[in-house]
């Protein structure tokens, strides 16, 4: 009996080359005669371009050409937005190089093409751009008033208003009844600060126009989508474009984009007829790569005096920034389905106003809409508990879906296939020592200890496995949500797996090998996973939304199933047995009741030689499958944070963090652990550290890692992680997805914990990030208002 691969904590295949410097990132690629690009960017957040004088730059040593917006106006098209959330959605044209007007600081106004990166950089300063500054709108609530317009030509800052109403949808009661009849009404406004994805490898693109095809290497999460979109945007036949995502150093949604810089590099290569490379600096990355979050959430929650929630009304202002990127407009809509979370709310209304401002555009960032929604509801459940004087866990238990009630249709219209919130919570409480910490909290309060203790709870679910194509269609998304895979059986019996999922740190090569090794009964080492090149992986929808395993992995399994079906016909022929008498296990077809068998390797070679195949059977075991999920998957979990707040300095420190995640069946526990740790770090970062801050003119103040505080290992605690396993019933493996869980769950756990530590001192809310100065200011304000309860 071979050891099952699925469930085995294998070290990742990918790691040896990544950690020994044998990686090939886009910036490592050097081609003969390659030219280098540098971008001239607008220092103003909103201005009319009156002239661009490139004469000095053009005569600078080493400069080959300079492209301005006017130079490429006819061919650059408008960068794509694939998610027009309403038929009336308004959006400005989005040229890769600004032509007449810039709408955020950092927008590209010209591109230097030179023989060296240094020569390109030197010439940037020689481009003389004249601007007429225009008024800027930066604040979301101000943007909603339309007093200053981010794009005067649109006549409004509102891009779209999108509404879900459970009364109208027939998934619940009207919200008006719930609010009118509320025994308890909790009204709060929460601010989701703007974040920067801050992936480790800056974005980089190399374009080689010299072959039959134009080859584009890019630090992207989405080589397939990028190929299609570049073809549509730039008017290049899709068949003439090959896109390769080589090693990609993180994305977190930040590389789920079709960027101006990618389009410009293609244009530059086309203009010069030579390979061109552009690699952004960290400063450019922070300033001009898309940002995330940036929402104002106005919330009303109605409940009975017993703590039963009767309705939730959400009014969202969502900051698009200056343009609509690939899925900018859809990100808040993804959250719409998650505000009701694990709860049985009878009435729900969600209204989102997508607004333009003069800042870098926002788009997907780890969790994309769902962390914002989860934060809001988990903070509200705590507020309700405080209002009623109940334990926050008790309020949650009173409202959550019990495990007997699955499958459960939520008030937002999703069908949750499985879950067991009681089990995950019970396990978390046990690991956490909830009672012991509550007792310590009481002691510290009693003793007026300068360091107070708080307990933060977050019970969350999310929708993963983006996405059933018909659901995306109903939401006006331009593409489907399927994934493609191919399993190729080589003459030696070695296996090549081609996947449309595009890894940028997830460990697909390892996990897919484990899946296929088990399915086909071949050694793990005999499986090779190929991805990230549209010439090899000819179809795919790439990697985001915790979709790889639940969609891409299922395509791999389906293709492997087809291999077995094909091989079975040949096996029966070779052994002169009936197909019905064959069973496939551990890589062999056996004739039941006999000791006769033939291995997949033997069948592979027989297929290759093709000397003796059944009539009408092609000499080929290779199989394709395209998997379109019928439902999302719904990971859930319970996260508990014990927060120490030093009331003298305002510093909030994580004393203990316990998370129990239920992500269904696990393929590789080590990879899962890594995803959970990284996700937690990013969620904690939102709660305590990170915020993109602009000055009054719209310049990014947090323009380097000196000011944009990404926490490092010394700033984060040792996590206690555990799992419960309630398999998904909507895919053959029972997997649910884990890429975003930690990020979604941890932010409200931390903030609830900070507030729980200082609420008895009169503090009611603290805006994220809960920095020491903000916590201290909140404590001071509570003292001044005599708010001690």
């Amino acid at each position: 009996m071979t050891i099952a691969e699925v469930g085995r904590a294998r070290l990742r295949k990918e790691d040896s080359h990544l950690i020994t410097g044998r990686s090939r990132y886009t910036d490592n690629i050097t081609l003969p005669g390659m030219l280098h690009l540098a971008m001239v960017r607008s220092p103003f957040a909103h201005a009319r371009i009156t002239s661009v004088d490139v004469s000095a730059a053009k005569s600078s040593p080493g400069v080959v050409a300079v492209l301005t917006g006017s130079d490429v106006a006819a061919e650059q098209g408008s960068l794509p937005n694939a998610w027009p959330v309403t038929a009336e959605q308004k959006a400005p044209a989005h040229p890769a190089i600004a032509v007449d007007e810039v709408a955020f600081a950092g927008e590209v106004v010209a591109c230097i093409i030179a023989r060296s990166a240094a020569a390109a950089r030197d010439a940037v300063e020689l481009v003389d751009v004249s601007y007429d500054e225009l008024p800027v709108v930066l604040d979301l609530e101000e943007a909603a008033t339309d007093q200053v317009l981010a794009h005067p030509g649109l006549g409004t800052n509102t891009s779209a208003t999108w509404v879900f109403d459970s009364g109208e949808a027939g998934t619940g009661k009207p919200i008006s009844e719930a609010l009118a009849g509320a025994e308890v009404l909790i009204e709060r406004t929460f601010y989701q600060q703007r974040l920067i994805p801050a992936f480790m490898e800056p974005r980089s693109t190399v374009v080689d126009p010299t072959g039959e095809q134009i080859t584009v290497w890019s630090a992207t999460q989405i080589p397939h989508i990028l190929r299609l979109m570049l073809a549509l945007t730039l008017g290049i036949p899709e068949s003439k474009l090959r896109v390769i995502a080589p090693d990609v150093g993180g994305g977190f949604g930040g590389k789920l984009q079709v960027t101006p810089e990618e389009a410009i590099t293609v244009l530059a290569a086309r203009h010069t007829g030579k390979p061109c490379k552009y690699t952004e600096t960290r400063s450019e990355s922070l300033m001009a790569a898309h940002h995330g979050r940036a929402q104002v959430q106005r919330l009303r929650l109605s409940a009975t005096k017993e703590g039963i929630v009767t309705g939730l009304d959400v009014k969202l202002l969502a900051d698009m920034g200056a343009y609509l990127g690939l899925v900018t407009s859809g990100v808040p809509i993804l959250g719409a389905f998650m505000y009701n979370s694990i709860y049985k709310f009878p009435a729900y209304r969600f209204e989102c106003t997508n607004l333009f401002t003069n800042k870098a555009w926002t788009d997907a960032y780890r969790g994309a809409g769902r962390p914002e929604a989860t934060f809001a509801i988990e903070r509200l459940m705590d507020e309700l508990a405080v209002e009623l004087g109940m334990d926050p866990l008790e309020v949650r238990e009173k409202n959550w879906i019990t495990h007997e009630e699955f499958p459960f249709t939520s008030v937002a219209g999703l069908e949750y296939d499985s879950g067991n919130y009681e089990a995950a919570t019970a396990k978390a409480l046990e690991l956490f020592d909830y009672e012991g910490l509550r007792a310590e909290q009481a002691r510290r309060r009693e003793a007026k200890d300068p360091v107070q203790l708080g307990i933060g709870i977050s019970t969350f679910t999310e929708m993963c496995g983006l996405a059933p194509s018909r659901v995306l269609g109903a939401l006006s998304y331009a593409a489907g949500g399927w994934e493609h895979a191919q399993v190729r059986v080589l003459p030696t019996g070695n296996i090549e797996v081609v996947t449309g999922s595009s890894a940028h740190g997830q460990g697909h090569e390892t996990a897919w090998s484990q899946l296929v090794a088990d399915k086909l009964g071949v050694p793990f080492e005999n499986v090779e996973v190929l991805h990230g090149d549209t010439q090899i992986s000819q179809r795919g929808l790439d990697t985001y939304g915790s979709r790889s395993l639940t969609v891409g992995g299922m395509a791999v399994l389906a293709a492997a199933d087809k291999v077995i079906e094909k091989a079975k016909v040949i096996a029966a022929h070779l052994m002169e047995a009936s197909e019905d008498d064959l069973e496939f296990a551990e890589g062999k077809f056996k004739v039941r009741g006999t000791d006769q068998s033939t291995s997949l390797g033997e069948i592979a070679f027989a297929t290759f030689s093709a000397h003796n195949l059944p009539d009408g059977v092609e000499p080929n075991l290779d199989s394709d499958a395209t998997f379109d999920p019928q439902n999302f998957s719904y990971p859930h979990g319970t996260h508990l944070a014990a927060m120490e707040v030093d009331t003298e300095t305002g510093r909030a420190t994580i004393r203990k963090y316990v998370c129990v995640d239920d992500i269904g069946v696990v393929v590789n526990p080590l990879i899962v652990e890594g995803q959970v740790h990284g996700g937690l770090a990013q969620g904690i970062a939102q709660a305590l550290y990170e915020e993109a801050v602009h000055d009054d003119a719209g310049t990014l103040v947090t323009g380097s890692f000196v000011d944009y505080l990404v926490p490092g290992a010394p700033d984060l605690p040792h996590y206690t992680t555990a799992r419960t396993e309630t398999p998904s019933t909507t895919n053959q493996l029972g997997a649910k997805g884990v890429g975003e869980a930690g990020t979604i769950a941890s932010t409200p756990a931390i903030v609830n914990g900070v507030l729980d530590a200082v609420r008895h001192l009169g503090v009611k809310d603290i805006r994220m990030p809960c920095s020491p100065s903000r916590v201290w200011a909140a404590l001071e304000e509570a003292k001044l208002s005599g708010g001690v309860q």
Binding site: D122, E125, T649, Y689, V693, V706, L709, P714, S773, W776
Partner: protein, 284 residues
């Protein structure tokens, strides 16, 4: 991240360096460990036409005993200051402060003198140097001059070192037997100090005989918390006395407001951190 083109020289003696400096014009920068200069050049916030690298001048590096003081070469890396036995024995405050600078890589490249001449108000070495009453030895075309710490730091990124001059050594009096602590407050581990307090205490029996306290990032230059020092001289070694004295820490300060906190928060932090630094220094 490509700097503008510049000329580069790496002299091997101080005399050679001074001569190069004298002939290079105004637009010259001295390169010590490069932990501040190189980033600002890469960001093109500085574009000197010439960089003189002091890294090959052996006489500028190292710690040696100089009677009642230690003589620390300007090119001594932070790591060496943090781990040198002479520093640990006689000016432990400096060792403790140097150990908090940035991360191990920076501490192996960055230099004691470089950080002092850079004079970042949030830097961790100026306040301890001030508290310790260090003397700065500066070489110039006319020879050597000595400047007291109180006169050395003149403003944001500005010191008494003039054009054509090089800081060669810092002479730090010995505080053998004193308790010392550097209390640094940051939001993440690798960050400039929001506020930090450098404290040295000489305890006699059950009282504080003498305290010397320097404040980091409470003004454009490092400050002495003189009101606290005066209140503590001869006071009993108790938490109450320390707390009461520390309340005066921010007197005379003028801190900046930024993303990490406004001036009022920094003034509050100065008092809290002074108390904590003193408690740790006195071993309470």
């Amino acid at each position: 991240m490509i700097p503008s083109a510049f000329d580069y020289a790496a002299p091997e003696t101080l005399a050679e360096a001074l001569s190069l400096l004298g002939s290079a014009g105004d637009d010259v920068k001295l390169l010590a460990g490069g932990q501040s200069l190189i980033p600002v050049m890469k960001l093109r916030l500085a574009d000197p036409s010439m960089v003189i690298d002091l890294g090959r001048i052996a006489e500028l590096s190292g710690v040696r005993d100089d009677g009642d003081a230690l003589l620390i070469g300007a090119m001594t890396p932070h790591h060496q200051v943090a781990t040198d036995p002479l520093v640990a024995a006689h000016v432990p405050l400096l060792a403790k402060a140097a150990a908090t600078v940035a991360d191990p890589q920076v501490r192996h490249r960055g230099t004691f003198g470089g950080a002092l001449v850079h004079a970042d108000p949030a830097g961790d070495l100026p306040a301890p140097a001030l508290a310790a009453g260090a003397t700065f030895i500066i070489a110039g075309p006319g020879g050597e001059r000595r400047v007291a710490a109180a006169d050395f730091f003149q403003g944001y990124f500005s010191t008494a070192v003039g054009d054509g001059e090089i800081l060669t050594h810092v002479r730090v009096p010995k505080y053998t037997g004193w308790g010392a602590h550097y209390e640094k407050f940051t939001r993440v581990a690798q960050q400039w100090s929001i506020v930090a307090v450098a404290a040295m205490v000489r305890v006699e029996g059950n009282s504080i005989a003498e305290a010397r306290i320097g404040l980091t990032n409470m003004a454009s230059t490092p400050l002495r918390a003189t009101a606290v020092e005066e209140a503590l001289a001869g006071s009993p070694l108790t938490l109450e006395a320390i707390t009461a004295a520390s309340a005066h820490a921010a007197e005379g300060s003028d801190p900046a407001s930024d993303l990490n906190g406004d001036a009022a928060y920094r003034k509050h932090l100065a008092a809290v951190l002074t108390k904590r630094a003193l408690v740790a220094a006195a071993g309470l």
